[in-house]
């Protein structure tokens, strides 16, 4: 450990300087996101295969989804991406208080999304659209309708789980911002948090049209 390294706040011992640390942690997050893409990729592959096998059943099943709630949630998430990006900007300028505020708004928007999602899930439960032994969609004799809801719950559920993890991380970083941890040379954690949050948003940007919009005009 060289002497100057020991003095820079926020610098881990294995790095020479903060620039190297920021480069390394950012690359690490991108690799993590690549891993996430492959993880969700398995679900998207399953979706693509079953959609091409059963186009009519999937189109019919998507009518059970509430496009207004889905659309509202899409807007909420896009707006939360904006507040997240503003939070990153504030961190780069070392304005810890602003960081805190933007992260708080992002956190609230994420929770709003999850609450709306919970209402949607509840509707599905009432309509008997939860796959498995209890599945009882009226008039749907085609088993592929159930496959649509298997995918719907797996994909949106996995996405929601990532939102919950993101919410937990936001709380952690809000505490850090309260402690005035960030300054013009040390803002990496917020930037990386931003990458994660945008990724989770982008997953939804793909899920919304695939699940809610495709086949709606039929």
């Amino acid at each position: 450990m060289s002497d100057h390294a020991a003095h820079a706040p926020g610098l881990a011992h294995q790095f020479d300087d903060l620039d190297q640390q920021l480069d390394a942690t950012t690359l690490g997050m991108w690799l993590f996101l690549a891993q996430e893409i492959m993880f969700f990729g398995g679900l998207f592959a399953a979706y693509a295969i079953y959609r091409s096998h059963y186009p009519e059943a999937f189109a019919a099943a998507s009518h059970h989804l509430d496009i207004r709630l889905g659309g509202f949630n899409t807007v909420v998430l896009i707006f939360s991406s904006l507040t997240m990006a503003l939070g990153v900007r504030a961190a780069q300028m070392g304005k810890n208080k602003t960081v805190f505020n933007y992260l708080l708004v992002t956190f609230m928007l994420g929770n709003l999304f999850l609450v709306v999602k919970a209402f949607e899930y509840h509707h599905k439960y009432v309509e008997g659209l939860i796959p498995g032994p209890w599945f009882s969609a009226h008039g749907a004799t085609d088993p592929a309708v159930q496959m649509f809801f298997c995918l719907y719950f797996a994909m949106t559920g996995m996405h929601a789980l990532h939102m919950v993890v993101g919410g937990g991380l936001l709380i952690y970083f809000m505490v850090q911002a309260r402690r005035e941890r960030y300054h013009a040379h040390y803002f990496g954690p917020i930037e990386i948090m931003g990458l994660y949050w945008h990724f989770v948003d982008i997953v939804w940007i793909f899920l919304f049209p695939l699940l809610y919009l495709l086949g709606l005009h039929q």
Binding site: F39, G41, P131
Partner: protein, 549 residues
């Protein structure tokens, strides 16, 4: 191969003993909360050795059962559980982490002149994740076992098996994240932490091999994770992803499973190839032949590896056209593999070869890997595979790669870097002897399986027709020799940790930054960040300068 975690307990070190990573501090907590990549490597060394011997125990049970044609030692069900646990332990908890998590963890920062990996906490976390997954899988084992095979094919695993499938599957799911995090850590470290002057094409080939491996770990492993999750949703909640009754397709499971599990084979063999590249140049005292080709062939194997998964499914209902394409792509993997083998032999050509134990493992690796690779071409052949699929020919083929290749490389690497890891020399005579025992035992175990498989003996049965007995007795006899070959190094390496001769910093006269550090290295590896001014393996140059003096 050493279970002894603690440094030699020679209480207060004598005054002249320099401080290094092993005696920097003592005690249980200093190991459980260590962020030192070298200590984490040793944690992995101890735990993968444990899992290796558990997996090995099941192999012994299988070979005992197969001595006689009748299924007399174990019931069919227990036999199924035994080969499942053998496969799961060896694949997920020994082979995949073996070289990367032990040697890679220990050596990559040393080789590139860094103080540690980029993310030391993540590194420690990955060991805890690994242990959590391993313990859960062990629990599935003692709670009654799992009988699905390590492949967990649907619909058996989702619908019909009454064993502890979910516990084991969750164990494998958790363990996968350890693999992902290790790979991520290596990629970032190799990109961002290299010493000044250490350009990409000056990197040791060991590092290149680990880079390629890490790419597979990061991009492949999440796919098995989501696959296991879908199996869990189907088994637990009746979601019908792979259930034909609900419009699902069991073949989709196989596609997703092999999309990871075929590249996983390259996670096992690529690091081993990296080890061989290091060893062959050192003990030939010659610059490696075709550096860039060996480096790029690692990357090529990683890339091709993602495009060949369908060759596991030639007879399981995949379309014939898909089968033809997968067959062709599988042949392509032979090209980078052959490039490596030819380049290693060309490196030895006119080199001054010395026959130390690590080099004996290199010879073993090259021979056995070549047999495993060439039989791979046979089973990649669409027509022949219809005959050979699910026979002992396949079992023999992949054991030549996984044991003959990956484990030989692992043991060669452990011996080569043992002086660096422990600061002690291992007993050369015993080590050579056990390398020979391993080679003989391995071939006697698995070569007869090629023959009996070609004659039609299927995998995964505890009983077989009498005409196959002679091959199976040979195989079981070989397995006992092989087992002995693993026990001997276990004993003398443990012994040498305490009683071996003290090792100089560079006992082999090898090139590479790791040999410029003391044996064992200090906690932060380098007093000052080294500056690299020459290419890797500059052995020939050294000779020339010696001659010119």
């Amino acid at each position: 191969m050493n279970a002894a975690l603690a440094p030699p307990p020679s209480a207060p070190p004598p005054a002249e003993t320099p401080t290094h990573y092993l005696n920097a501090n003592y005690g249980f907590r200093s190991w459980m909360f260590t962020l030192d990549h070298k200590r984490i490597a040793l944690l992995y060394l101890a735990s993968i050795t444990l899992f290796f011997f558990i997996g090995g125990f099941y192999a012994v049970m299988l070979r005992l059962e197969l001595v006689t044609p009748a299924g007399d030692l174990m019931s069919a069900e227990n036999y199924n559980k035994s080969f499942t646990m053998h496969g799961v332990m060896m694949v997920f908890f020994f082979l995949i982490p073996s070289i990367p998590a032990v040697l890679g963890n220990f050596l990559i920062p040393l080789m590139i002149g860094a103080r540690d990996l980029a993310f030391p906490r993540l590194n420690l976390l990955s060991w805890y994740i690994y242990m959590a997954g391993g313990m859960l899988t062990l629990y599935a084992m003692v709670a009654g076992g799992v009988d699905t095979g390590w492949t967990m094919y649907t619909p058996y695993s989702t619908t019909y098996s009454n064993s502890h499938v979910m516990v084991m599957a969750v164990g494998i799911f958790i363990n996968g994240f350890s693999s992902i995090l290790t790979g991520l850590n290596f990629i970032v470290t190799i990109h961002k932490m290299r010493a000044p002057g250490l350009t990409w094409f000056r990197l040791p080939l060991f590092v290149w091999a680990h880079y390629a491996t890490s790419v597979i770990q990061v991009l492949g492993t999440p796919v098995i994770a989501i696959t296991i999750l879908l199996v869990a949703l189907e088994r637990g909640f009746g979601f019908g992803f792979f259930d034909p009754k609900l419009g699902g397709d069991p073949i989709l499971f196989q596609h997703l499973f092999w999309f990871y599990s075929h590249p996983a084979v390259y996670i096992m063999i690529l690091p081993s190839m990296g080890v061989v590249s290091e060893l062959v140049t050192c003990f030939s005292r010659k610059k490696v032949f075709g550096y860039k080709f060996i480096a790029m062939s690692s990357v090529a194997i990683a890339v091709f590896g993602f495009l060949v998964w369908g060759h596991h499914m030639f007879v399981s209902g995949q379309s014939i056209y898909a089968g033809m394409i997968f067959s062709f792509l599988s042949f392509l993997v032979g090209i980078p593999s052959a490039i490596k083998v030819f380049n290693w032999t060309a490196t030895m050509y006119k080199g001054s070869i010395s026959y130390h134990t690590p080099m004996l493992y290199v010879f073993g690796f090259i021979g056995l890997f070549t047999i495993g690779g060439l039989t791979g071409l046979i089973v990649a052949n669409l027509g022949l595979d219809v005959h050979l699929h699910d026979t002992y020919f396949i079992v023999a083929h992949f054991h030549y790669i996984m044991v003959g290749g990956a484990v030989m490389g692992y043991l060669g690497g452990i011996h080569f870097w043992w002086p660096k890891i422990t600061g002690r020399l291992y007993p050369e005579g015993w080590a050579r002897f056990s390398a020979l025992v391993l080679f003989v035992g391995f071939n006697l175990t698995f070569f007869p399986q090629f023959l009996v498989g070609y004659l039609g003996m299927p995998r995964r049965y505890h009983a077989y027709p009498e005409e196959f007995q002679v091959f199976n007795v040979m195989s079981s006899a070989g397995a006992s020799i092989l087992g002995l070959g693993y026990l001997i190094p276990m004993i003398y390496l443990t012994w040498s940790w305490r009683y071996g001769k003290l090792a100089p910093p560079n006992p082999w006269g090898a090139k590479g930054l790791e040999w410029t550090t003391p044996s064992p290295p200090t906690t932060f590896n380098f007093e000052e960040t080294p500056v690299v001014t020459e290419e890797a393996y500059a052995y020939a140059q050294e000779q020339e300068t010696e001659e010119s003096h």
